[in-house]
Amino acid sequence: MTVSTAKPTRGKKRKRAKGVGTGAPPWEIIALFILPAFLLYTIFMIWPLFQSLYFSFFEFKGLARGGFVGLRNFHELFTRYPLNEQLPRAFWHNVYFFIGTMLIQNTMGLLFAKLLYASRFGKRFFQTVFTLPYLISALVVGYLWSLMLNPLFGPVNQILRAIGLESLARPWLGDPATALPAIILVNAWQWVGFPMLLFSAGLANISNELREAAHIDGATSWKLFRHIELPLLLPVIGIVTVLTFIGNFNVFGIVWAMGGVNGEPAGATDVLGLVFYRTAFRGGVDAFGLASALAVLMFIFIFGVSMLMLRYFRHMEENLT
């Protein structure tokens, strides 16, 4: 019952397939272990996803499926006005969202992890505090920050004015130039604890012998970080990047809560998740066929790019070792 044995990673040099048994149990036993998860996952997750693919080739009237229409739904996505303008715009906003999140949220996460790794006091306190917003629903976070950033009544502008930064007091969510960056910041506020915890875990896994060796060689702490820790964090960076990518291309709640269903102002915060939502639930009679087609394109893109990213990071790791 002791937990201590659960941390065998440190000290022991890792050997591939260290604990993995060679003689697999008979297939009935394997099946008994795997089948429950397999069935649940396949029926309730994979099957509906496949259905989306199938539905995308049909015409819909409300929820009633009509005839086979080939690629017409896909064609409509790129030709029907204003969808043909909104779709590419939303796509680039997602790209922007991803880059912004990588630069701000994940860099901050890494910085905090590094600072906390070095500090002896208050580590748990800061880790807990920085992760707190993650526990709050995106809707609530969006609502809260909409109030904070409100141009008429919000405290952020009041505080800026009070400390003499009048020029910075602006309608953050009402100006197309600042609305998306503001949402990216709020999203980072909510999520920064996640990369921080993962990077903390990664740093804790780097053996101290390496650090000591570097220290004896006279490396500064920046050099230690740049040449020892950062390369060894590559697998974590890979995981964080892929998870951020998936999360950002699916982003919905926070944008919906702060920019509304149309990604206001003037579509400046419109993202693919909102386009899908509008197409499926605000569109005309044939909405579900179109929405399925859009869902299929998003599946393919998100899945495909994630796989490429994973392969790229694995490749980089192999080059390093």
Binding site: K61, G62, L63, L152, P265, G267, V285
Partner: protein, 456 residues
């Protein structure tokens, strides 16, 4: 101490069973509904229904209790509706009406799937005009013509809002009318010596005075795009010609790029100096708060706001006026754009169709209409109902005198993209300086023409 797995599975089973048990209370209601269901075969012929209803009416009193679930997007009206349905329940002891409101922004998404499967509603609040069509085409609503006698209380024009465009059947009993005008703060007007403007010059003068005195003249929200076509029609309907233009565009004799229509859009831009700074950052709720806290003199909006002003600012003294026609207007008098707000229909999948039909039939009576207008503070379309609220009564009077259609909603929501969406997005961009009035009109025309075919 056996094994953790064992304990875990046991606990899990327990939880799943608990989930199953917790289900029970709801399930026990189902048998109660069954008798009604068996007596209402799904494919009855519409014309026979009233007869059946009549013969079965006495039996219904002895029938097992029925619970009718009513879905709505009016979370703020929950208490009022419960009071109204209490009256119905007293007259129909076997019926319990459960009113379930959903948040308005998600109502469409809930309805899209909501009418299929278990536990759906019996009676549904339906969006009007185009918003109704997906449900009709999916066959999820019961046609009510020939079954609901009170439908004859309503004019054909009103019933258009509850009609399936393809089959011409009526699918709902209208519950409300909305009309548009300009609200003003009487206290502020008095203090500044202002009166209701009757010409455009007087209107501009009012705005100038308010601005000079440090008020925000018009509490306009431009963050929520759905308000922008409303502001446009409140200000610009006489400029483009209202009903005359509507007739022409439906007949294909003109389109939205008509110079008069473009000029009506430009009016919104011309009024921007009188709106709050950074108007595109001001949400609907912010704008209402500005008017409520007496920081703004005017609010361009609809009769649907009356309830909100009364609840949140009971001490606020408000009046309304029609925005006078702008120079070069096609019409020489102001207009009051209005529309049928929605209707109550019956789920084709309901277990208790007959009782549901009786309920919506009652919703077309004067008894319901009068309670609706008094308790919910909106206009009832039932003839003979009289709003008690003076402002609401004023709206009704305006609409009677100078009626017009809120055209983008009434006629241009039958396809995707809808007229209101295009106009909202367009005006927002115009206020940001990204589009001109011509471009807004063009984008509206381009979007609409993808599905709109004028009748010859």
């Amino acid at each position: 101490m056996k094994s953790t797995l064992f304990k875990l599975t046991l606990f899990l089973l327990l939880i799943v069973m608990l989930a199953g048990c917790a289900q029970k209370p709801a399930d026990t209601q189902a048998p109660a509904q069954k008798p009604a269901a068996t007596q209402a075969p799904a494919q009855e012929k519409p014309t026979e229904a009233p007869k059946e209803m009549a013969t079965e009416a006495p039996k219904a009193e002895e029938m097992a209790p029925v619970t009718l679930t009513v879905w709505s997007w009016r979370t703020e009206d929950e208490d009022a509706y419960n009071e109204i349905f209490d009256v119905y329940e007293q007259a129909h002891p076997n019926v319990t009406v459960e009113f379930v409101p959903f948040v308005a922004t998600d109502y469409n998404n809930i309805l899209a799937t909501g009418l299929t499967g278990e536990g759906g509603p019996d009676v549904v609040q339906l969006r009007a005009y185009g918003g109704l069509q997906p449900l009709v085409e999916a066959g999820q609503l019961l046609p009510l013509d020939g079954k609901v006698k009170t439908l004859s209380n309503f004019s054909p024009d009103l019933l258009k809002g509850a009609m399936g465009v393809k089959d011409g059947h009526i699918y709902g009993v209208p519950f409300g009318i909305q009309t548009l005008a300009a609200y003003y703060n009487k206290g502020i007007f008095e203090k500044l010596g202002l009166s209701e403007p009757t010409t455009w010059d007087e209107f501009i003068n009012v705005l100038e005075t308010l601005k000079k005195e440090g008020y925000i003249p018009i509490a306009a929200p431009a963050k929520d795009t759905w308000m922008l076509p409303i502001i446009h029609d409140t200000v610009g309907a006489p400029r483009y010609g209202g009903p005359e233009f509507e007739k022409k565009i439906l007949a294909g004799e003109t389109d939205f790029t008509d110079p008069n229509y473009v000029a009506s859009i430009q009016l919104v831009k011309d009024l921007q100096p009188y709106m709050p700074d950074n108007v595109v950052g001001v949400s609907y709720q912010d704008a209402r708060t500005l008017f409520l806290t007496e920081r703004a003199g005017l609010f361009l909006g609809g009769s649907f706001e009356v309830g909100y002003w009364r609840n949140e600012g009971p001490e606020l003294d408000i009046g309304i006026f029609r925005v006078p026609p702008a120079p070069d207007s096609v019409l020489d008098h102001p207009l009051t754009p209005g529309w049928m707000d929605g209707s109550y229909g019956v789920n084709a999948n309901s277990d208790a169709k007959e009782e549901a039909i009786k309920l919506v039939e009652w919703m077309g009576t004067k008894e319901f209409g009068q309670m609706f207008t008094e308790k919910i503070k909106q206009l009832s379309p039932v003839p003979g109902t009289e709003p008690k609220d003076p402002v609401l009564a004023q709206f009704a009077k305006f609409y009677e005198e100078t009626p017009a259609s809120y055209m983008l909603l009434v006629d241009f929501r039958y396809g995707d993209p809808s007229g209101t969406t295009l106009m909202g997005n367009g005006i927002q961009k115009m206020l940001l300086g990204e589009m001109t009035a011509e471009e807004v009109a063009q984008s509206l025309q381009e979007g609409i023409s993808q599905w709109f075919k004028p009748k010859q």
